[in-house]
Amino acid sequence: MHEIITSSGDGKRIAVSRDDLQRDIAAGSENAAQKGDIDGLSRADINHLVDIFCQPTKTVSVEPGREVIVSDDGAGLMASWGRPSAGHAIPISDHQSILMYERVYCADTCGLGFPDYSYKPVKSAIGYARSHYKAISMLTTIPLVYGSQPNMGMYYHPGGPFPNPFDYFSKYEYEKGFQFQEEAAQMMRGDIRYVAEQLYEVGCEAINLDTTASAGDAEFWGALMVVEDIKSRLPALPVVMGMAGEDVIGMHGRLTYQNERLAGMYPHRQVEMAAKAGVDIFGVAVNSDTGASTPYNLARAVTFLKAATAHSIIPVHANSGMGVGGMPMTLLPPVGCSTRCAKALVEIGRADGL
């Protein structure tokens, strides 16, 4: 029987039969539907996804007319040695790298960020961030989005000012654990607001809260509140929010936003909260299972994404980098895998962008 070449969730090349492919896709869709309490993929969607994987060509693409917008979390800086993690370390400046991304790669938008990609360290290097942004934004034509992670974990000991709440949970001192999470969220909120205001003074065109809720529901809570702050103080500053994962982890568990409990929210509810707070573009992140196949992971991602895009009033981009959006958890993903994920996220998941 003809075998289909694809990847496992860790990037390793695998060959599967058409029956296995269909079984993995159905299982991935069912897993997402069950977890998120959403509709699974229809028979037509599953057949479409099977066809995408069965294309004999090395790469695939969307049908003409269905192209979407690309946003990123530092892809424009990838070539530069200004991006020390996961970069190519070519001895060129961030300015040069971004102009190449705009005029050679021809991306639709471009992200700029500090090498230590979290708002907390950006605050202490705000002069660098301001001058960097100002100089580059004079040269770019595509939207230049300043990105960083809320990364609330940085506010706990040993690097941050607050004790680790889990030290208290393990001693059954729950109220203290809750209190430190809420205080950390408020400090994070203040830092992000400060960075946004400082960048706005030098003409910032948009700001990105990337990998939101990596420290759970308290981080999501703080991020939603700072979006409200930004929109009330700087209404002309578009806000982009990308998530850390498909599920808001209930590290606090009690926090609500507009009377909705944040813990346990899946993408279709996350985007609803983000839109209420004032977010302009929302990024759905669905994590890949490194032990499963790409067809399984992509089916999960597309199922969650489709539920989010179906009811969203704001544009939804699918996070499709390393280990999210069906992509394998590897620095060097096969190009056939990258393009198959992109096509499925757009054509089946109905993403407004990647």
Partner: protein, 112 residues
């Protein structure tokens, strides 16, 4: 957000599934998503309407090279370098009737 982290993924995804930035009208559609929260089809319709084009023209490099050159919207080819960067964004903001904060601030500074 979107693409990133993995090496080479951005190029593969841009070529296979995205609008093409300044090669076409990708940045113009992106501005509409950012400033007016428009979903992809509405954003394309809006931009096409402002340029008096069809939606399919927006990803036609030949059509858009001429449109961008005539309207001073910036381009990736050297014939159109008279409008790039902040100058092109100023023209884009006016054409699309949207606020672009870097442009607003620059024009404020020019006005003293």
């Amino acid at each position: 957000m979107g693409t990133g982290d993995s090496h080479g993924v951005a190029i593969a995804q841009i070529v296979s599934s995205c609008m093409g930035g300044m090669r076409t009208a990708g940045d113009l559609v992106a501005w509409m998503q950012l400033t007016r929260r428009m979903k992809i089809h509405s954003a394309k319709e809006y931009v096409a309407g402002k340029l008096n084009l069809s939606i399919s023209d927006l990803t036609d490099e030949t059509v858009m090279a001429g449109v961008r050159g005539r309207n001073g919207l910036g381009s990736v080819i050297p014939d159109h370098v008279e409008y790039m960067g902040i100058a092109a964004k100023s023209k884009i903001a006016r054409l699309l009737d949207i606020p672009i904060h870097s442009v607003d601030l620059y024009e404020k500074h020019l006005g003293g």
